[in-house]
């Protein structure tokens, strides 16, 4: 065997492991010490040793167990508790003299602690703004720089927030526990929100998003992981379904230069495998007859995705679903989307009535509300009002592609302008 090839294999194996078992190993290491920072250092050290050792000694039979043993030794070295030290020394491991003890150590046999880790990341005592980055770093192994890029904040700022959160977890002794049945509903919701947050940052914190990496795939990965860990929670399944459907439609959503609204997307670009994954999760969620926000949002996406087969959008079904969503989660976005659906089924004036019924000052600054209003007024033939609404929607739009779309709609209106 030529050595270049061995190196490549070892590196590829280490990278694969970093992707698939990083969170699993870190959760095991952190759960016993409650010290995420030290656990991260120990695991990073183990990966570094793997990269220098495996090319020479070969990839061990159970690489995850190898990494866990090396990391645990490292953790104990840091703690400087000689009594704690494992019988397998780092030198033994590093030189490839694997003791049999290693084969007995099977990370797959150790209960998965990632669920506890996710609950720690979204603990009520942790600042909501840092929960999503914390999950991305600890469960998926992203470094601060990658996360900072996605959130469009300086790496130093994010790194500082992450360190502060981890010290808080350690110093305040936040337990690595999965909440019991009684507490689960209230504790699960921030976990779901944080995972959804990884998906939603895609929708622009800073204007001109061209250079930003998207985390939609990672959010989906987290949601699917959570669904594997909590397969009997309908809202968990709902979130996994929602993100599967949303990710499936990504290729058709246009680009930074071109905005394609959902009901005009080319359905042949949608990912059918992801759509059926979404349907599977949604179907399983429905067997629990316990409705929630993410299940309804997933059902809405499912109706949109059904257009790929049927060729039309079932607006009546969407109207019913939005009504249900508004009744349990009356966000501005849900109410505006409901008004748009009403406009499709019951006509423009009914849609406008629904828009007018939304109270609060914030709706006046809410760009989607003005985009929908412009469209409904356009449909109703109130050209002058529609023009004014388009102007306002355009003035509130910071994305080029979407503004271009609205300007194009507005231009279609002008020939009818003389009518009023």
């Amino acid at each position: 065997m030529d050595s270049g090839r061995v190196t490549t294999t070892a590196e590829v194996r280490a990278e694969e492991l970093a992707r698939t078992s990083y969170g699993r190993l870190l959760a095991i290491l952190a759960a016993s010490s409650r010290d995420i920072e030290t656990a991260e250092d120990a695991l990073a050290d183990a990966f570094a040793r793997a990269l220098s050792t495996w090319p020479k000694s070969g990839v061990p039979n159970n690489p995850a167990a190898w990494l866990l043993t090396v990391a645990r030794n490292r953790q104990r070295d840091v703690v400087r508790s000689a009594a704690d030290r494992l019988t397998v020394s780092i030198d033994d491991v590093a030189t490839g003299r694997m003791s049999q003890a290693l084969d007995g150590l099977d990370p797959d046999a150790i209960p998965d602690r990632r669920l506890a880790l996710l609950f720690v990341c979204a603990h009520p005592a942790i600042d909501p703004a840092v929960r999503t980055p914390l999950m991305l770093q600890t469960v998926l192994g992203f470094d601060a720089e990658q996360i900072a890029r996605a959130f469009a904040i300086p790496t130093a700022t994010l790194a500082q927030r992450l360190v502060r959160a981890k010290r808080r977890i350690r110093d305040a002794r936040i337990p690595f526990l999965v909440p019991d049945r009684r507490q689960l509903p209230s504790r699960l919701s921030p976990v779901l929100e944080a995972i959804y947050g990884a998906y939603a940052i895609d929708f622009a914190l800073v204007a001109g998003v061209a250079t930003r990496d998207t985390l939609a795939g990672e959010a989906h990965w987290l949601a699917v992981t959570l669904a594997d860990l909590l397969p009997d929670e309908p809202e968990v399944l709902g979130l996994a379904a929602l993100l599967s459907f949303s990710l499936a439609r990504r290729p058709a959503r246009g680009s930074v230069d071109e905005f394609v609204p959902l009901d005009e997307q080319e359905t042949s670009l949608w990912d059918t495998t992801l759509i059926s994954t979404g349907e599977r999760y949604l179907h399983r969620a429905r067997t629990y007859t316990e409705i929630g926000r993410f299940q309804i949002e997933a059902a809405i996406q499912s109706v949109h995705c059904a257009r790929a087969a049927s060729g039309y959008t079932d607006w009546a079904a969407l109207g019913t679903l939005y009504a249900a969503l508004v009744s349990i989660s009356p966000t501005l976005g849900a109410r505006v989307a409901q008004a748009a659906a009403i406009g499709r089924t019951d006509g423009a004036s009914a849609g406008l009535g629904a828009l007018d019924a939304i109270f609060g000052e914030s709706v006046q600054r809410f760009q989607p509300a003005w985009a929908v209003r412009a469209q409904l007024l356009h449909q109703a033939g109130s050209s002058n009002d529609a023009l004014a609404a388009y102007d306002r929607a355009i003035s509130l739009t910071t994305e080029n592609a979407e503004r271009a779309y609205l300007e194009q709609r507005r231009a279609q209106l002008v020939p009818h302008d003389g009518r009023e």
């Binding site: 720089e145 900072a148 890029r149 959130f151 469009a152 904040i153 300086p154 790496t155 130093a156 700022t157 622009a204 914190l205 800073v206 204007a207 001109g208 998003v209 061209a210 250079t211 006046q364 600054r365 760009q367 102007d391 306002r392 003035s395 509130l396 739009t397 910071t398 994305e399 080029n400 503004r403």
Partner: protein, 125 residues
């Protein structure tokens, strides 16, 4: 209506930045200015050097006082200005919240009162 977006952020955020952060920050500001420009609302944009190079001048106490440093020593320093022309405060808010500096500092929105054009002061429209 013209609005000045005044950027304030802590000084160390600039001096302690790594090259990558600086690059990322510049890229964010480039995208932001380009988005404003593409929207046809940008009047001018200026990002200032750090307060280390500031000099302050005053005659308010009767004699000339030239001071090495900024007008006020505060944690968050005035660091840049974008002047935009948008219909109303809501539109200005929409742009201000998308400003990269809002991620690590504060963006103050101030409507313009008068401006000097072609030899005369004109009031805000």
């Amino acid at each position: 209506m013209r609005y000045a977006l005044l950027l304030h952020y802590p000084q160390p955020a600039v001096s302690n930045l790594s090259d990558e952060d600086l690059k990322a920050g510049k890229a964010a500001f480039h995208d932001y200015a380009k988005a404003l420009n593409d929207a046809g609302v940008l009047t001018s944009a200026e990002v200032l050097q750090t307060v280390a190079s500031a000099t302050s001048v005053s005659l308010k106490n009767g004699s000339l006082h030239v001071q090495d440093g900024p007008f006020a020593e505060t944690r968050e320093q005035f660091a840049g200005i974008f002047v935009i022309n948008v219909p109303d405060l809501d539109a200005a808010l929409a742009w201000a919240e998308k400003c990269p500096a809002a991620q690590w500092g504060t963006v103050e929105i101030r409507p313009s009162a008068v401006r000097f054009v072609d030899g005369a002061w004109i009031a805000a429209e």
